[in-house]
Symmetry: C2
Subunit: 322 residues, 2 copies
């Protein structure tokens, strides 16, 4: 099976849930009466920032890594990411006891490299451009014979991300709408597949920053857009859709809602103040979208995926020094 | 029964739990493998910053307000507090549908007055010194015939605060140590009474900032100290023990552990980064104490009360502007 060309089924998602159950956290769902009043609907926040490594990414990485045969696994896993996916693959490989190699541009912050190395992965540095990253990744794959685990264009990863919504719909029965951030589309694809496997009537929206609106424009225009430069405070939402995620979202997403960075920062602050949850900007696009498009959500029972909480406390977008 | 001279029994605490069950949140208990490794013991964080009004104070206020007879309740409730207790009494009275009056020094931040008024309470302003507060409170009590609900020197309030620990011990069975912040001593008294009602072998520590060390010194010297000036980043921990809480803590507390403000800020940052929980400085004294006195906690199963999350995001003690 080519993992870049397979749409996960409900069975795939349920298998993923069983596979990662001993590894991943069952994250809580939080509510806030004051945010409900502000939004004019009932909000159910799925706390994936409380997932291991502080982001939903652990679900997909763990499912992919633990799906490998023992023989394949022994040669190790390779990926490219300077963010949460790199840390997720590193941790999943450490838990399975196999080598991980993460290709990272040498411009990545030292703190992110340290996090990946802390989980026991080998870091291979390359230049920043995509061609250099791809060349370095191919070189490592050749050298090790390892398995590639792509951050989003991979059915195993998508099935893993889908387990968050499977869990959410069990914890908060009767949701009629779910909103997830969209970047490469792995989380949103999994969210939509899990929701529609339960009930095809559930509306699934992506939320995307204006400064990285390729998913919105790709789905609106029917052609996958690549090669744009993303500019947004949401450092986790700068990737572009893959071939597989584009195909899934054309089928399953009710739409992608655009929000600007000021709205993201205001929503992030609301989550910190009212829910007392330290989420990263990328996770706040969901609430920002609900507040910007109230007519889409009025009176609804809405699930929102709080995707991650890895934020630099020294560079908060709303804090002044004390 | 004089509420300032009665030590709550287990029955009082269980009655309080039943009384506030329809009103209060059952708050989650969070864990972190990396904080366990850092501390050298197993930590169970009781998330009272996720309680209504963002602090445990709602438990005690709700128990006191809903303990009143209908006749007494109809005349309303009076308290003095510019902080979480004022908001807690205001909300509890709104839920019961009775008037609340909160005496607040005119030096209190406008945002805190607004929060109390938002919950529907009348705010009476007075001068900052304790004599003025007491005079204004006495005047309101005379004028309204209302019931006083003291922030901590009150058996109904202590029994309410104790319910947090009753809940914690059910959620995390087998704890052998519990740490709570100490200020006026209502939370720590309730924590100790609830813990020792379950198992007299559980060790209960207070955690207190060096700059407000009256509880430590009072218990060490055997005489209740009053009239000192508190200076600490923990704005919720500047009160002094009351007569009732001093008596309870002499009997029940294994000790008060002092931490300095830098340790509090470092512990607060750890909770934000590792647990992704936006707690206020006063809530971080517990983890600061565990990290400062590792020999007291090595290998133990420790409960920590995260007491509140009402923090000014514009004045974080560790953030620089982005």
């Amino acid at each position: 099976m080519d993992p870049t060309a397979h749409v996960p089924s409900l069975a795939d998602i349920e298998n993923a849930a069983a596979r990662i159950a001993p590894l991943a956290q069952v994250t809580p769902v939080l509510r806030s009466a004051s945010l409900d009043a502000l939004a004019g609907c009932s909000l159910h926040f799925k706390c994936e920032h409380l997932q291991r490594i502080g982001a939903f990414k652990f679900r997909g990485a763990a499912n992919a890594v633990f799906s490998l045969s023992d023989e394949d696994a022994a040669r190790g896993v390779v990926t490219q990411s300077s963010g949460n996916h790199g840390a997720a693959v590193a941790l999943a490989c450490r838990l399975r006891g196999i080598p991980a190699t993460v290709v990272v541009p040498r411009t990545a912050p030292a703190i992110k490299l340290a996090a990946i190395r802390d989980f026991g992965a080998r870091v291979v540095l390359c230049e920043h451009d995509q061609a250099s990253r791809d060349a370095a990744t191919a070189e490592v794959l050749r050298e090790t014979g390892g398995a590639l685990v792509h951050p989003f264009n991979d059915a195993r990863v998508i099935a893993g991300q889908a387990t968050a919504t499977l869990e959410l719909l069990r914890q908060a029965p009767g949701l009629d709408t779910v909103v997830a951030p969209v970047s490469g589309g792995g989380l949103l694809s999994g969210t939509a597949l899990a929701a529609h496997a339960q009930d095809p009537g559930i509306r699934v929206f992506g939320a995307e920053p204006e400064g990285a609106r390729d998913a919105h424009d790709s789905l609106a225009g029917g052609t996958r857009i690549v090669g744009r430069r993303a500019e947004t405070v949401c450092d986790g939402l700068r990737a572009e859709l893959g071939t597989l995620t584009f195909a899934i979202l054309r089928e399953h997403a009710a739409g992608v809602l655009l929000v600007d960075d000021a709205e993201v920062v205001a929503a992030m602050r609301l989550v910190w103040e009212r829910l007392k949850q330290a989420i990263e900007p990328s996770a706040a696009v969901t609430l920002a979208a609900v507040l910007r498009y109230p007519e889409r959500f009025a009176g609804r029972r809405v699930g929102l995926i709080l995707s991650g909480g890895n934020v630099d406390l020294d560079a908060l977008p709303f804090a002044r020094a004390a």
